[in-house]
């Protein structure tokens, strides 16, 4: 069957993709600045358990993702405080455990979902109802980030400096976890849980070299994200590939181009 870009599901896919880009650029900057890509990855991995439980208990996928990812984040932050294991090891254990339990829960209960779509994204799964939920998530994230921008930034630069000015880094880390959770829930259908981290990291890393201020970096990352999403979805339709990997390939290409561009400019 021939797909045209005017098909409603493709338009819905693009609108949904833009929703993802609107928040993954900004939030991705914090992930890059704080070098916590593995944490983002772990939160994303734990979302499959949320999907399974959400369907099993009839609460809906989004609710399941939010609850499971938040619990995962809180469990991690708590274990990290106790300093029994290194952050890296702890995440390695928890993330894969959550992913595995998720797959077991889904297969044991014979839940009829397309795991492939959750892992790599599928624009065909986006309904107009989903779009409303996504944009609700987008507004929430943008509000949370803008409202707490300077606190988030200061904790990112230095936790002790933030503490000396009356910010409790634990609350800021919880806030960031909440924001990440929403980003995961919003991105899951389009990008897929295995590639969400890529959408957080690549646009932010692309804009790092081009930006002179944190705000500029977030803005450029957002545009890079939007561009990648639109081009990526077209590409996925053209070659009939899953949307997530197509979007990631486009944004990674932009990433390398930005470095090349930067390299040429510096040479002159």
């Amino acid at each position: 069957m021939e797909k045209k870009i005017t098909d409603p599901f493709i338009i819905r896919g693009i609108i949904a993709g833009i929703a993802v880009a609107l928040i993954s650029g900004i939030v991705g900057c914090f992930i890059v600045w704080r070098r916590m890509s593995y944490y983002g990855e772990s939160i994303a991995h734990s979302s499959l358990l949320g999907v399974g439980l959400g369907i099993l208990l009839g609460t809906g996928i989004n609710f399941g993702i939010i609850v499971v990812c938040l619990l995962f984040g809180i469990l991690f932050l708590w274990l990290q405080q106790s300093k029994i294991l290194s952050t890296d090891t702890l995440l390695g254990v928890l993330a894969h455990l959550a992913l595995s339990i998720g797959i077991i829960v889904i297969s044991l209960n014979r839940i009829k979902i397309d795991i492939h779509a959750f892992l790599f994204g599928d624009i065909l799964t986006v309904s107009s109802n989903d779009l409303w939920m996504m944009y609700f998530g987008v507004i929430l994230v943008i509000f949370l980030v803008c409202f707490n921008w300077s606190s988030l930034l200061l904790v990112t630069i230095d936790e002790d400096l933030a503490r000396s000015e009356g910010i409790n880094p634990i609350y800021v880390n919880l806030l960031l976890t909440t924001i990440l959770t929403i980003v995961v829930a919003v991105s899951l259908q389009i990008i897929g849980l295995l590639l969400i981290t890529a959408m957080l990291i690549i646009p932010a890393a692309t804009s790092r070299r081009l930006a002179n201020s944190p705000e500029q970096m977030a803005l450029i990352a957002t545009f890079v994200g939007i561009f990648s999403v639109i081009l990526g979805i077209f590409l996925s339709i053209e070659i009939d590939a899953p949307s997530g990997p197509s979007i990631v390939v486009v944004s990674a290409t932009l990433f390398f181009l930005s470095y090349l561009f930067n390299f040429i400019i510096k040479k002159d």
């Binding site: 630069i157 400096l161 000396s164 201020s213 500029q216």
Partner: protein, 251 residues
């Protein structure tokens, strides 16, 4: 509740972490116009003491009282993330601060970083970074400046000019300073009180007194004590350079 005159007053503060005593029965008062330098070997609990006094860390025992509306300027040893965040010196100094242009300009000329304000934080040298951190800690006109090994990453001339700057700020602004420093021989001239810490307070008092204290000598050795004895005769910061060379020759 009785009001206190001291800016910060700690009594009987103890911190135990992982079954190890980090701080033991610490009593300390920071008054107006104090210049206190904390010295001690690695792992003596110096940074922990600062954290407790500033309220970052709740001690297991003891009480810490802060004066109402006390403004603290804190300068950390270094900051962790600088290369990943594109941020100019000006944005960094002013992030999350209420300030006006006049006080900003005053602070940057005070620490002499006028040339740096539009540079990226990631390109600064060690000495420039320390001045920028100092500027940030001064922007709110603090009553108390807390410095955690501020000159640790500087070379010797950098250290000298940095401590000279601290001395100028101390005398001009009429504030209190609490500093952790290993470079006691360099801050001798400015500091009014030395607190020698090794999980408990070994000795404290005027630098000259502390230098003669047996506990101090056993911890830092006779050379350090002699070196400090050289400095107590000078009152002019400008002579530090020569003094230091003499001090080294004497060893």
């Amino acid at each position: 509740m009785k009001t206190i005159n001291a800016l910060i007053s700690a009594s009987n503060v103890s911190v135990i972490k992982h079954h190890k005593s980090i701080l033991k029965n610490i009593d300390i008062q920071i008054n107006k116009n104090d210049f206190i330098t904390i010295i001690g070997p690695n792992g003596a609990g110096k940074t922990m003491l600062l954290k407790c006094l500033m309220g970052f860390y709740e001690p297991n025992f003891g009480k810490i009282q802060k004066k109402d509306k006390l403004k603290i300027g804190y300068m950390p040893q270094s900051i962790n993330v600088i290369n990943t965040v594109p941020i100019t010196v000006k944005s960094f100094i002013t992030v999350r601060k209420k300030y006006d242009d006049v006080s900003f300009k005053q602070v940057i000329s005070e620490v002499d970083i006028n040339q740096l304000v539009n540079k990226q934080l990631s390109v600064l040298s060690g000495g420039e970074m320390q001045r920028v951190l100092l500027a940030r800690s001064l922007l709110n006109n603090p009553d108390l400046l807390v410095l955690d090994e501020p000159a640790q990453n500087l070379d010797i001339s950098g250290q000298l000019s940095f401590y000279k700057l601290i001395q100028e700020i101390y005398s001009k602004r009429n504030i209190s300073i609490l500093m952790v420093s290993h470079d006691l021989h360099l801050v001798m001239v400015s500091t009014k009180k030395v607190l020698c810490l090794s999980n408990h307070i070994c000795c404290s008092g005027k630098p000259q007194q502390v230098a003669q204290d047996p506990e101090f000598i056993s911890m830092f050795g006779k050379d350090m004590a002699n070196m400090m004895a050289v400095y107590q005769h000078t009152n002019h910061t400008s002579q530090i350079d020569n003094q230091l060379i003499d001090g080294e020759k004497n060893n």
